[in-house]
Each structure stands twice: as C-alpha cells, then as structure tokens.
C-alpha cells in the first residue's frame, strides 16, 4: 500500500481533503495525470487552413496547436528553444512563421527553426538548427473532430484510452453526418478552486441540481430531468442513469431523448430539429442511442479534464493553475447541420446558463471555492469527504456499456473518477494502469 492509497477509498466512497490543497500532491498530478493522459487540445473546426493555430494548455504547459501544410496537425510547447520565451501571445489566428519576441528566432508552422538573426556573425554558422526545433507532443490524434494530445510516448492509443466511452461520445460526435463544430469564442473564467471539484461535480453530481441551482431552476422552470425537481425532493430516477467504470470516463444521462432543451425559453425549435433528424440518427447509431441518448440531457466526462453536455450543448475544459486555481474554458458545440437560427439560439443559451454570468454556473463557484478553502486548515485538511451514495447499486445493462447505476442522484461516477485518479497517481508507467470497460473488468482490476 502506497502513501497515496490512504487518500482515496473506492469501496466506501471516501476522499482525504488534502487532495484539494496539498502542493506536493498537485505536483504529482501534473506528472502522473496531466503529463500522461490524452488531453483535448483543439476542435478541428478551430484550425481549418494551413497556419491556423490555437494557443492552449496541457496541464500547466502552454502549447500551440497548428494546422500543417499537408492537412495534418502538430502541437508544440509554446516556448522558444533558445531562452524559453513564450513564442506566441495570441489566442488563435494564422501564421506562416512564429517569431520569438526576444531575439527573433523564427519557427515554421511545422516547428522547424528556420531563421536565426546573426547566424553567421554570432554563431559562426555552426548552429545545428535541426536540433532546435520546437518541442512536439509525444502523440496527437483526432477522434471524430476532437483533437487530443499526450506528452507520453507510452500512452495507449487514443482509441484504447477512450475505450467503450466512444459509444457514448458518438451519440453526439457521430450522430449527424457532418459532425460537430464549436461556435463562438471560448468563455474563460479563472476560479480559486481545485481542478478536481468541477470535474467530480459534472461527472456525477445530480444531487446538487435541485438545491445549489434552486434559483436558476425556478426561473428556467421547465426542467425536469429524470424526476429531479427543485428542492431535492424528487428522487424517482426511472429513465436516467449514471455510468462509470470506463477507465475514469463517466456519463450522467437522462434517457428521454429531449430533456436537454427543457432549459430553453422556447424549446420548439430545438425539439423540431430533433424530430426532423431522429430517423437519420437512428440509421447511424441504432435505435437505442437514436431514441434515448440523442437529444437527452447528458454529462460526458473524459478523464481528466474535458466535459461536454449534449442537450445543453456546452463543451468545457479545465486548465489547472496550482492546487487552488484553474481556468475554465467553455464553448457552445453544435451539429453542423443545424440552422443558423438554432445555432444562435444555442449560443445564447449556453452563455446565459453556463457562461461567466450564467444563471447556473454562477451558483457553483462559491461552493467549490469554499470546499477548496475548507481543505487547507491544519485540522480540516486531515478530514475526509464522502461520495458514498448508492453504494452497491452497480449493474450491468445489455443495452449500454460500462458500470451502470440508476438515476442522476447517485455518487457512483465520482467514486470511479477518484479510483482512476489513484490508479494513475500510483502507477510508475502506463503498464501499471489498468484497463477496464465493464463491471466485470472493473471488479477484476480493483485495487490492482
């Protein structure tokens, strides 16, 4: 048993609060989790033409994701190889050459060092420019429009990393023939919160909806997801599931095929879109996903830091900035086939509900900040917190992969997120990180 094992108890659903505040644990997270996982870096729609780039983060490392002349995509550390200056300060744009502001070293979109001022006079033409190209990520891969990268050469393929989670992801990414796109720019907010708290919240916490968001639920009124209503009273969870045991990835899903649009002031237009296209989607995904997942309110979590909510159409990544701080970037994501009118309606709704002034988002910040702060004191950091709801409710269902529990008010998913966290924190290499996509596999690999 390692020192870390005491931090998480998967069976009883217990975590030590110190994981939200300890600087040493955070340093290990950067190394063991962020430097080894496949992390979302860009949507293909953000970098369409050669030279198009996005500046983003992998953990605390700043990277540039650049469309290549041959149509491929590369990602580099956004740092000059000479003295380490930040190479590019823009959020996005198009460049033929990235020139460092310090001494003028110039790098091509392929990362090669092409230009060095005073190369002849100061370096006597002896600088081996081939050795000073930008530092590339170890692996980069596109999954149905989402580009992921990892710093770890040993990481399994992206397909294997996503595993059976692909079945759920496809219910959005591959539902319509032309796929998805992000619309608008990222809404960016910095929060004084440990990065794991929003992840666990969206991964499985249906419990807080009726209480933490009571004000927003009251005024947006039309939402009734899986029997959950304002005031935490509704726990009749027929028609909704929590799914985990998918290598740390999780799903929280209503299964009614339309509830995601219940937040809309006028759901007529999105519901008509679902009606008009449901047959197409059934043709592509089959009857079960076409009827029950497509259009439903679903929370998808790709471990460790990417979350998307088809139905509400938001797409979000968390960039850690120390144990007590992260940046949250939120976009609206839509099907390309949607009308401009519907896309605009979705963009407005994402901003109004989950933007920086979002009716719902503005309820979460204070709670998660307070938890972070209540994990810092000498006494509080020794204490535990719990995700011990619905223990023993795990099932297998024929119609869907993963470990399934009934309902949205269920803490199964958080337990699996922290199980994955511990597995990665304890592992010396990917060879020691178990691979599981079902209840049987999850049980067989538990504690290994």
């Amino acid at each position: 048993m390692s020192k870390l094992d005491d931090l998480i108890d998967f069976k009883t659903g217990r975590q030590k609060r110190v994981i939200y505040s300890d600087p040493d644990i955070y340093e290990q997270e950067l190394e063991k989790i962020f430097a080894r996982s496949w992390l979302f870096v860009a949507h293909v729609c953000q970098i369409k033409e050669p030279g198009d780039f996005i500046r983003t983060f992998m953990g605390e490392d700043e990277v540039l994701v650049v469309r290549q002349k041959d149509g491929g995509v590369k990602a580099f550390l956004n740092s000059c190889t000479h003295r380490g200056n930040r190479l590019c300060k823009a959020d996005h744009g198009n460049k033929k050459t990235f020139v460092c502001n310090y001494h003028g070293w110039g790098f091509g979109t392929d990362g090669a060092l092409n230009g060095v001022p005073l190369e002849k006079e100061a370096y006597y033409n002896k600088l081996d420019k081939g050795k000073f190209g930008l530092i590339e990520v170890a692996q980069i891969k596109n999954y149905k429009g989402l580009i992921f990268a990892t710093f770890d050469e040993e990481a399994p393929s992206l397909e294997e990393y996503l595993g059976e989670m692909k079945w759920y992801l496809d219910s959005w990414l591959d539902a319509m023939p032309e796929g998805t796109e992000l619309i608008g720019t990222a809404m960016k907010v910095e929060l004084p919160v440990n990065w794991k708290l929003p992840v666990e919240n969206v991964s499985g916490d249906g419990y807080h909806l009726g209480w933490a968001h009571a004000g927003a639920m009251t005024v947006t009124s039309s939402l009734t997801v899986g029997g959950l209503e304002v005031g935490n009273t509704g726990t009749d969870n027929d028609g909704a599931v929590s799914v985990a045991g998918l290598n740390g990835h999780t799903v929280l899903a209503a299964l009614d095929g339309q509830s995601g649009y219940g937040f809309y002031p006028d759901p007529t237009i999105p519901l008509q879109y679902l009606k008009d296209n449901r047959e197409t989607v059934i043709g592509r995904l089959g009857k079960y996903r076409g009827e029950h997942l497509w259009g439903s309110q679903i929370n998808l979590t790709i471990f460790p830091n990417l979350q998307m909510l088809p139905g509400l159409n938001w797409f979000r990544i968390y960039h850690p900035k120390g144990p007590g701080k992260f940046e949250m970037w939120t976009w609206a994501m839509v099907d390309k086939e949607m009308s401009d009118e519907l896309k605009q309606m979705i963009l407005d709704n994402v901003s109004r509900t989950f933007g920086p002034a979002g009716l719902f988002d503005n309820d979460d910040g204070d709670n998660l900040q307070a938890i972070t702060e209540q994990s810092r004191g000498w006494r509080t950091r020794q204490m535990d917190v719990y995700t011990n709801m619905a223990i023993g409710g795990e099932q297998t269902r024929d119609e869907m992969p993963g470990v399934v529990s009934d309902g949205l008010v269920c803490e199964q998913n958080q337990r699996y997120v922290y199980r994955r966290w511990l597995e990665m924190m304890n592992a010396d290499s990917w060879a020691d990180i178990p691979n599981y996509n079902s209840l049987e596999e999850a049980r067989a690999t538990e504690g290994k």
Binding site: A186, V219, D363
Partner: protein, 170 residues
C-alpha cells in the same frame, strides 16, 4: 461627433450615477424602470489577436457574456428574488464607480450616445476583493417619463473573467 449641450450632459451624468447607486444597492425594480422596453443589453470580453492576423473570416465570432433583452434581464432578476441564490446571502458589498462620461448627439433629436467607464468593486466574505473594469457605450432616449436606456454595449477588459460569478449588472 457633436457634443451634447451642457444641460443634457448634466442630466445624463445624473442618470448614470443614479443607475450606479441602484445597481450597487441591488434595487433591480428601480433599475428596470430606467430601461426602455426594447432594451438591448450586451457585454463581451476581448480576444488576444495579432494586429496583422488575416484569419478574420475564419475566426470565431465573440461569444457574449450578456446579450439580453428585457425578458432575459427579468429572468436574471427573478433568480435573485427567489431567495435561493446562496452566493448572495449574506449580502455582499458592491460599488459601481462610473467615470469618463462623454455625451454626444445622434441623428435623432431625443437620443444620445453616452460613453463611460465602469469599475466594479466587490467585497465578499472575509478579505476577498474583486475589481472588474469595462468600457460602456450607451444609447439613451428622452421619453415622457424621463431618460431611458435603450442600448448598452460593454467590453470587459480581461481576457479571462477574474471572478467566480457575475451575480450583478454593469
């Protein structure tokens, strides 16, 4: 652009200060009475782009923080009134500071363009203090019941919002 007459300038500056006091006191019914029914209330935040960047047609449109009509504003206000917005209980201290007011005539006799800078100070809990600044461009209209705000377009100065909620108006 033609500067408005001094009496108009003074009257509109008085409106801005009055509005700021209502917003700081969270007197939202009082505030709504200063808005035209067809109010268009919007705010966005900057993108960091190279001056010479040529990807304009491919670049994404800025996502607004606020892009509200009267119905949307009232929904936000109704949320505050539910008594369920736990983040605002106890009441937090907030100051809306208005500066750099300029008033110009428009092509329409009874409408004026008003530029101002707003600085919001928020003090919460113990030693938590946040400061947000934004530039505003307004359209104010003279109506039978006095000046009404018809349109406000604001840009927050930060590329990343440095507060965990925006439970206020600007």
């Amino acid at each position: 652009m033609v500067q408005a007459a001094d009496d108009v300038y003074l009257a509109l500056q008085r409106e801005l200060f009055h509005e700021a006091r209502l917003l700081s006191a969270a007197d939202y019914d009082g505030w709504v009475s200063m808005l035209a029914d067809n109010i268009k209330y919007s705010m966005d935040m900057p993108q960091r782009r190279f001056i010479e960047d040529k990807s304009n047609d491919r670049a994404p449109k800025k996502t607004p923080i606020f892009d509200d009509d009267m119905a949307a504003l009232k929904m936000r206000i109704e949320r505050f009134k539910t008594g369920f917005v736990w983040a605002e209980n106890p009441i937090n201290s907030i100051r809306h500071i208005i500066s750099n007011v300029e008033v110009f005539e428009t092509k329409t006799d009874n409408e004026f363009t008003v530029y101002s800078i707003m600085e919001v100070h928020r003090s919460r809990l113990d030693a938590e203090r946040k400061r947000l600044t934004a530039g505003r461009k307004d359209l104010w209209q003279v109506s039978e019941t006095g000046y009404k705000l018809v349109k406000r377009t604001a840009t927050l100065d930060d590329g990343v919002v440095l507060d965990s909620n925006m439970n206020f108006f600007f």
